[in-house]
């Protein structure tokens, strides 16, 4: 890409991003939580949600032992019921990717790694790209990058665009998820603009949040991002994935998001290839609901492993 287009294209994308009606988006987003999903359809939805989960641990205190436990849980979320599907992936810091690789080699569970100076993204590009290449070398199948929100909010769209494009190149075969950190963007207009920018720059997935900033994934923000994906699909026929992360703690929220995805994008997106939940606490709540359905008894928090 020559220097001219590099500056010009991102500015056009931002300028042509549609404006968002906050009131209507929030009202429509809230409406998805009012569907009544019961019994068999609820169980199917919950199992689907598990199969879409990126089971995540992104704490400074993460150890190899903790990541091993996380991997085993992702592989078989409920030891006493082998019919519960595996999670889609585990999501860890780059240093712990080799541990996850050792645990998950030969299984369906993917390894996602955050990179690019997560969670702020405020490091020189060369360091961020190095971070990405190492994570891929360690065995990461998916890279969760953060955009430089400071640059985005200052209007340096070309810088953000180029960094995403460079990261995509550095990721090689690994899938690239671009974290917008919507809680720091401040408005739905900017969420939509950032979504369009990330998609144009080569994102395979767009993702709401790092989980380190509140608010994280909210129904309104997710709906705006899904609409950006829908518009891109209509224009180009290319399917971009979506990953709400942070703040999805309850089974009911997960079901509401599945309804939102189905009614905004259609059945194709109801698959771990195109939709993921970034979550840690969500899995236990979903298991709680599944066990309630299976055994007819409400379970205690202690009935499930903590991770």
């Amino acid at each position: 890409m020559n220097a001219n287009t590099a500056v010009h294209v991102p500015a056009t994308i931002i300028a042509s991003a549609p404006r968002i009606d906050r009131v209507m988006v929030e009202e429509r987003a809230a409406s998805f939580s009012k569907r009544s999903l019961k019994k068999a359809s609820k169980v199917r939805g919950l199992r689907l949600a598990i199969s879409m989960m990126d089971l995540t641990s992104l704490e400074g205190k993460d150890t190899a032992g903790k990541v091993e436990a996380l991997c085993r849980k992702a592989l078989r979320p409920l030891d006493r019921d082998p019919s519960v599907p595996s999670c889609a992936a585990v999501c860890v810091y780059p240093n712990l990717v080799p541990v996850a690789k050792r645990e998950l080699a030969g299984t369906s569970v993917q390894i996602a790694s955050v990179a690019t100076a997560f969670p702020s993204g405020l490091s020189p590009l060369s360091i961020k790209l190095d971070d990405v290449r190492r994570a891929v070398d360690f065995g990461a199948d998916e890279i969760d990058m953060v955009i430089d929100r400071g640059a985005f909010l200052s209007g340096h769209y070309a810088k953000v665009f180029d960094e995403i494009a460079a990261t995509k190149e550095a990721s090689g075969k690994a899938h690239l998820k671009v974290i917008l950190e919507t809680g720091e963007l401040g408005s739905y207009d900017l969420v939509r603009a950032a979504s369009d920018l990330a998609i144009a720059a080569g994102a395979d997935f767009i993702k709401t949040s790092t989980g380190k900033v509140q608010p994280a994934a909210t129904p309104g923000v997710v709906l705006v991002m899904l609409q950006a994906i829908a518009d891109h699909y209509r224009k180009t026929g290319i399917k971009i994935g979506m990953k709400p992360a942070g703040g999805v703690r309850h089974a009911k929220q997960a079901l509401a998001y599945l309804v939102m995805v189905k009614e905004t994008l259609g059945d194709d997106w109801l698959s771990p290839h195109l939709f993921r939940f970034g979550a840690s606490a969500l899995l236990n709540d979903v298991l709680l609901q599944l066990e309630k359905d299976r055994l007819g008894v409400y379970h205690a928090d202690d009935d499930f492993s903590r991770d």
């Binding site: 007819g296 008894v297 409400y298 379970h299 205690a300 928090d301 009935d303």
Partner: protein, 300 residues
Amino acid sequence: MNDVSHDAGQRLAVAKTYKFFVGGAFIRPESGRTYPVTTAIDSADAHHVNAPRASRKDLREAVRVAAGAWKGWAERTATNRGQILYRIAEMLEARREELHQQLVRSGSSAGDAKVEIEASIDRCVYYAGFTDKYQSLLASANPTGGPHFVFTLPESMGVVGVVAPEEAPLLGLLSMALPALVGGNVVVVITSECRPLVGLVLGELLATSDVPAGVVNILSGPSAELATELAKHREVAAIHVVADVPQTLIDVERLGAGSIKRVKGEGHVFVERLYTPRGQGLSAIERWIEPKTIWHPVAI
């Protein structure tokens, strides 16, 4: 000035909507359902009153909220728990008239209502005094053959389900909930089914007596059905049921076994004891305590 509100004959009294007390808030039943409670014919305002009818989901929500409040309550100092339980007595004393009216409405004679309220206040004071004493009375230094100190210490169990008796709707309820609270447990209470209003009013009073949100949760509804749901719920560590129907007690015992719950089921004898010295005591506190035994080497 012609102020209509001064015209007593024209004024329409504002009826109260009774609500559950869960997590420090007054909430309506999730299903929106209520059930009629017949008040005494000869009471001043005899009429039908609706009480909220708890469903399984209301119970689940109450248990969830209670479980979240457990740690904070158990970690409070013994003195502070005592102060809070004493504060309940203060609030009961301050709102005697309202409680009296509720008990009379639900069928007690004026004299019986007075006795029940006074006994209830005294019971709060009695258990308030126990919060910093039961540990010394229930803990022990145990003999052992080896070079170890062996201690047994009382710890709280968690969420205790209480299904209050039909009779003595205030004293019975408090006599069941207080000993569990003394030991650092949190409670989910099902009021008397036929006479729920005084228990629901108790919630309004607890809301102003420093009891942390979620420590006491009060629901009303079909007691036998709710008792079996409490018995099944795995988050509930123990359950105390007073019921006149033996089958309820059998069901609770059987279902509670699924999660190795501590179950205490009693019949009418519980109510008979309420006004006797056996209506309160250390043994009631001990019932909702988990003894923890620690072995510690004498020297290294």
